[in-house]
């Protein structure tokens, strides 16, 4: 049956909606091979110009389009996920995830990073504005946080350096904390 390999890719993505599965270049190659074979066969059939071949050409053409759709959807949905990661993990993604990306995807991520950074520098009356901060309206300047992992030294905007150790609590300015909270290094404590 045609289109099975392409479907495999889609199923793989659908099974894991929250994580990025390893880039499956092996199956992609197989799909492309199938498409090449289908195309060649169609070309040969059309050259013969026999009416008996009419239905077969249709079958193969539909399979070609299906395969194309599966491949494009696979790539597109992965890119979407990678874009979402830029907003959730920040500009540096963990090496385990990066390992699952293929070379063009890493390049795409770096380019997206650059475009976003350029845009964020350009807005806010030329002072720049970090769009990933203040996703909720800030209510206080300092917040209480608990550190969840040994992060080491962290330098804040005003030049102060704090050493973040696992299990300790800190009272820190809200701005620099937000990124770390989103990355799961700090935990915001409210009572």
């Amino acid at each position: 049956m045609f289109g099975q390999k392409g479907l495999e890719l889609i199923k793989e993505l659908n099974r894991t909606p929250d994580v990025l599965p390893p880039f499956n270049d092996d199956v992609i190659r197989q799909v492309l091979e199938e498409m090449n074979a289908l195309f060649e066969q169609n070309r040969m059939d059309l050259d013969k110009e026999k009416d008996a071949n009419y239905a077969g050409v249709h079958v193969r053409h539909a399979s070609l389009e299906r395969n194309r759709r599966c491949l494009l959807a696979y790539l597109y949905n992965r890119i979407n996920k990678i874009r979402q990661m830029r907003w959730e993990f920040g500009s540096i993604i963990p090496p385990e995830i990066k390992y699952n990306m293929c070379e063009p995807e890493v390049q795409w991520f770096n380019n997206y990073n650059k475009i976003l950074a350029t845009y964020m520098r350009g807005i806010g009356n030329k002072h720049g504005l970090n769009l990933t901060l203040d996703r909720q309206p800030p209510k206080e300047l300092y917040i209480e946080v608990r550190c969840l992992e040994d992060y080491g030294e962290y330098e804040m905007d005003n030049g102060d350096v704090v050493t973040l150790r696992k299990g300790n609590m800190y009272l820190l300015p809200r701005g620099p904390c937000e990124q770390l909270i989103r990355q799961g290094i700090l935990q915001h404590i409210t009572d």
Binding site: G3, N14, V19, A55, G56, S63, N77, Q84, P137, G184
Partner: protein
Amino acid sequence: METRFKHSYCPNYFSLEDILATQERVLCKVEKSVHGLGCLDQSTENEDLVVGTTLQLPFWLAFPLSQTRVRVVSVELPKIYKEAFREVLTADASIVDLSKLGRYFYEFGSHLTKLNHRDSSAINTMLMNAFKDRLRVLIDWAQNLCTDISKVQRLDTLEKELYLEGFKARKELIAWLSEGSSKMCASEMVVNHKKRKRAVVDI
């Protein structure tokens, strides 16, 4: 914030759900012999598909073949969209176990209406009414944080996503009412990523 719920399947070329829904198989009857593609029908060893053979084809293949100038196959409606089942759903849709009828009941059904079958409009109306009937129960579950797994398992994929989205919204509302919006938390992807990481370390 991007939402996880990707609606509007039908015109969405890249939608995973739509690709999976069009993979559902339909019973087709061959009207014009297909040269050299006997392999599509696993029950014969013929080299060609001969006129009159019936076989199961995925919808994405059956649909274009039924729309060609000289029709290659004619598609028969699946049992669950035929009149007998339509009557069951019209009687009381909310108690039917849709997940048993097919994981993409609405999605696949709306694709079937494109076949220009004489029942197309009846299917359309039935799908809409069934959805309306069931939606009321669904909202009720989401609003009251129903966590009964057996109930949720009876939903079709579209309904399940709606339910989970409603459930999440309700929980967020409760959190907002009790502690306001100032609390910041780790993003969802990060949390999931950490969970996985820890599992790996444990092994």
